[in-house]
Symmetry: C2
Subunit: 130 residues, 2 copies
Amino acid sequence: MGSPVGQTGGVTGDVVDLGQKFELISEHWSPKLVATLNDYEVKLVKVQGEFVWHTHEDTDELFLVVEGQLTIQMRDRDVVLGAGQLFVVPRGVEHCPRADAEVKALLLEPSGVVNTGDAGGDLTAVVEAI
Amino acid sequence: MGSPVGQTGGVTGDVVDLGQKFELISEHWSPKLVATLNDYEVKLVKVQGEFVWHTHEDTDELFLVVEGQLTIQMRDRDVVLGAGQLFVVPRGVEHCPRADAEVKALLLEPSGVVNTGDAGGDLTAVVEAI
């Protein structure tokens, strides 16, 4: 909440149509920024296959599935999300998303959070706005 | 982000099914808490009719329409959102949501934000978790 009064909240200040935005995404595991809310970012991502096990030590992370079925593997259990279902991975909890078929999801987390958390590696994405 | 490592991120730590949660809501203009993400709250609300003009001086506010058509009136323009569309009302911008027919929407904002902002009045809601 460090921005001045009157600064636009969204990336463009326009309506964000999730379906239209997803059409602009081709790559898997590469979240795209579609809106900001104070110092938080709303991102859209298409995923398929298995990500990497990683942890965000300093923040919770919200997943909302828009289409498909996403499994969020944790060390003590799996959570399976279908369209219209959301889950918050608590900070400090190691997790690894997996999707047997392509999933469209909305992510919410503070600005600057790295998708691979503490794990790094090839799947680390630079987040661009779309 | 003031809570300790390991604190659960969600209200219950469970999957939140938006459809099931909306079935628990009968009152209009009374947001219900379904998840927390650090110091932010994810709320669901059913709305119909016109709200009150109000401003949140210190925070942006995100509206994601799940079902129906929501008009967010601002002093310089209206924004119309359908299902699968989101908009961020920037901090300090006076607005008044309106829905001719019932709308189901997801709201995202920092914990403790009052729904009627600076306006107060009868529509001010105490947010309960569902």
